[in-house]
């Protein structure tokens, strides 16, 4: 490894600065005393808005709905994503590429396509948009996240361990229960956490499938378009960053060098 030239080094550090500075600004503005504009530098710092935000029932309701949706969508994605991963990780069969494409499609196509497509179907079959339709929509794009994590781990699972298990008298279910499941447990946890973060933060598909329900991102989106409670929005922004970052940092601990996060399929 040769040492990087100064130009390259500076470019890399500037890039990281570019990526992180806005997040730092969010942290700073959560404490500003200014409640009318986005003035910089903030005229003063206060913790006041945290207490105000904590007392807002609409925010708590939106948060609870987001958590419920994310949990349900993650549960579905865990089951379906693991099944696809188990089927695909070593088998070769005709149409395998098409199946991979099918699961990547929800993240390769713009979220708005998924959103409007689901909405058109909801309208056609006369479903009432709400938690159910949101969960269905979220699970659809979360499956690939679980799939990516689990399939990467399964590929590292040596075939001879499965054979050894069968050789020692374990049937397929026992082999899955005692050998496969413990081996992929961290991948499942990682995939689940990422799915949760993905769903918790999702807004585009949500706006089309939520009907009149308000998740936290939708509450936030409304503030973004028509700011009413600027200081409270600032606090919620900080809170949302914290909530989505905790799973990511946990996943980082669970997987080496974040390899399972790669191409993990986060989309908006």
């Amino acid at each position: 490894m040769t040492s990087a030239s100064w130009g390259l080094r500076i470019a890399a550090f500037l890039c990281i600065f570019f990526l992180h500075f806005p997040l730092f600004i969010i942290v700073l503005y959560a404490f500003t005393t200014d409640d009318k504009t986005y003035a910089f530098p903030p005229p003063g710092l206060t913790l006041h808005w945290f207490t105000v935000a904590a007392g807002r029932a609409d925010i708590w309701a939106a948060l609870w709905l987001s958590v419920q949706t994310a949990l349900l969508a993650t549960a579905i994605a865990l089951v379906l994503g693991t099944m696809v991963a188990a089927a695909m990780y070593k088998a070769k069969f005709w149409g395998k590429e098409s199946i991979t494409l099918l699961f990547i499609l929800p993240i390769a196509l713009p979220g708005i396509v998924t959103g409007i497509a689901l909405l058109s179907t909801i309208r056609r079959v006369n479903l009432e948009p709400g938690v159910l339709t949101m969960v269905i929509g979220h699970a659809t794009f979360c499956i690939v996240t679980v799939f990516n994590n689990v399939v990467a781990r399964l590929r590292r699972l040596s075939q001879s361990q499965l054979e050894a298990s069968a050789d020692l008298g374990a049937d397929s279910w026992q082999t899955f229960r005692f050998v496969v499941l413990p081996s992929i447990s961290t991948a499942l946890l990682a995939g689940g956490l990422l799915s949760f973060a993905l769903s918790f933060d999702e807004v585009i598909v949500t706006t089309f499938t939520a009907g009149t329900d308000q998740t936290l991102p939708i509450w936030f989106l409304n503030e973004l378009f028509r700011p009413r409670d600027r200081p409270i929005t600032n606090v919620v922004a900080l809170f949302v960053i914290a909530v989505t970052l905790i799973p990511i940092l946990l996943v980082q601990r669970l997987t080496q060098a974040g390899e399972d996060l790669h191409g993990g399929g986060k989309t908006s």
Binding site: Q161, S165, A166, D167, L168, G169, D171, Q174, P182
Partner: protein, 342 residues
């Protein structure tokens, strides 16, 4: 232990494993290759039987067919007389020691060894008792709580052995079990394995590409080449009387001499140690000394005769020099005529 007790001199020994016209083929990138090609094989109960061959010769596939990890395309596999061709591995009364040991990394050594008992629903206390006994018998009593990653290669090998034996199988399959060990440890384990097999009296089916290993441990050896068995005999017969050119070269690297060189027709095998080298030109096969390798107790001489290279082994140090003219001598009994393969 139910096996091998009936193994007396009068009665014919029970057949533990029987393969009849077994074919197993794989398709890779559109091409179908017969990994095992119409193999017939009978292994007696209590026998130490080796499958010997270079990589890709079909010996491992053959073992995997017996273990149930592959299915024969055609042919029949019988275990103790019963057709087992379609039986999944977990319903076969045999166990396997895998080449990479395949220990479960998330379980302790004790849990690994007790696994076969656990999946059969043996109560926990008995499980622990039997697994502990098994660990003692492979001299790993103090390692029960460790993880496989905390063991040395030789220790892992013993755990794999204990795990495969805990359920008292009638047949043990071993897929190059010593391949990953260094030379010294390998030689120790060879002796131990052979002793263990004698003590337990169960059938060992042993895959190896190391002819020395196969010869020293086995009751009988099957030599594989291109998915077929070239020869199946006791080690001594295999060594003294190779039937084909392949066996002659692979087992003990004999010289294969074309008959024209010695005024006969056909192909002949001649062991390097059975050749005497005389200085100068005499009656018989003469040539030029190409190379001298001092090996310690022996010296290996490479001699060019016509277009052939012939190796000889002489005891002690040779006083000959490179380029010298030499004559080869041997007694007729050591010259073996080989079958000319199609």
């Amino acid at each position: 232990m139910t096996t091998a007790t009936s193994f007396t001199e009068q009665s014919k020994p029970e057949i533990a494993v029987c393969l009849e016209q077994v074919v197993c083929s794989f398709t890779t990138s559109g091409k179908t290759v017969r990994a095992v090609d119409q193999v017939d094989l009978e292994i007696a109960a209590g026998e130490f039987f080796s499958l010997l061959g270079p990589s890709g010769s079909g010996k491992t596939t053959c073992l995997r067919l017996i273990g149930g990890f592959e299915r024969p395309a055609s042919g029949v596999i019988k275990l103790f007389g019963a057709d087992a061709s379609r039986l999944p591995p977990f319903q076969r009364e045999l166990n396997t020691v895998f080449q990479d040991y395949a220990l479960f990394p998330h379980m302790s050594v004790l849990e690994n060894v007790g696994y076969a008992l656990m999946v059969r629903g043996v109560p926990k206390l008995e499980r622990i008792k039997r697994a502990t006994e098994m660990l003692e018998s492979v001299k790993l009593a103090g390692f029960a709580a460790r993880r496989p990653a905390q063991l040395s290669g030789g220790q892992r090998q013993r755990v794999a052995l204990a795990r495969a034996l805990v359920n008292r199988p009638r047949i043990l399959l071993l897929d190059e079990p010593l391949g990953a060990l260094d030379l010294k440890l390998r030689e120790e384990m060879q002796i131990e394995l052979k002793a263990l097999q004698r003590e337990l009296g169960i059938t060992f089916i042993y895959v190896t590409h190391d002819q020395g290993e196969a010869l020293s441990m086995s009751d009988r050896v099957a030599v594989f080449n291109h998915g077929k068995i070239e020869q199946m005999d006791a080690p001594k017969v295999l060594y003294d009387a190779p039937r084909t050119e392949f066996v002659a070269k692979f087992v003990g690297s004999a010289n294969v001499i074309p008959g024209v060189l010695i005024g006969r027709s056909g192909l002949f095998a001649l062991r390097p140690e059975n050749i005497r080298v005389l200085e100068g030109y005499h009656n018989g096969l003469s040539g030029e000394l190409l190379d001298i390798h001092f090996l310690g107790a022996q010296t290996r001489l490479e001699i060019r005769v016509g277009n052939e290279r012939i190796a000889t082994l002489q005891s002690g140090v040779s006083h000959l020099e490179r380029g010298a003219a030499v004559t080869l001598e041997w007694s007729e009994q050591h010259l073996r005529q080989l079958e000319v393969s199609a």
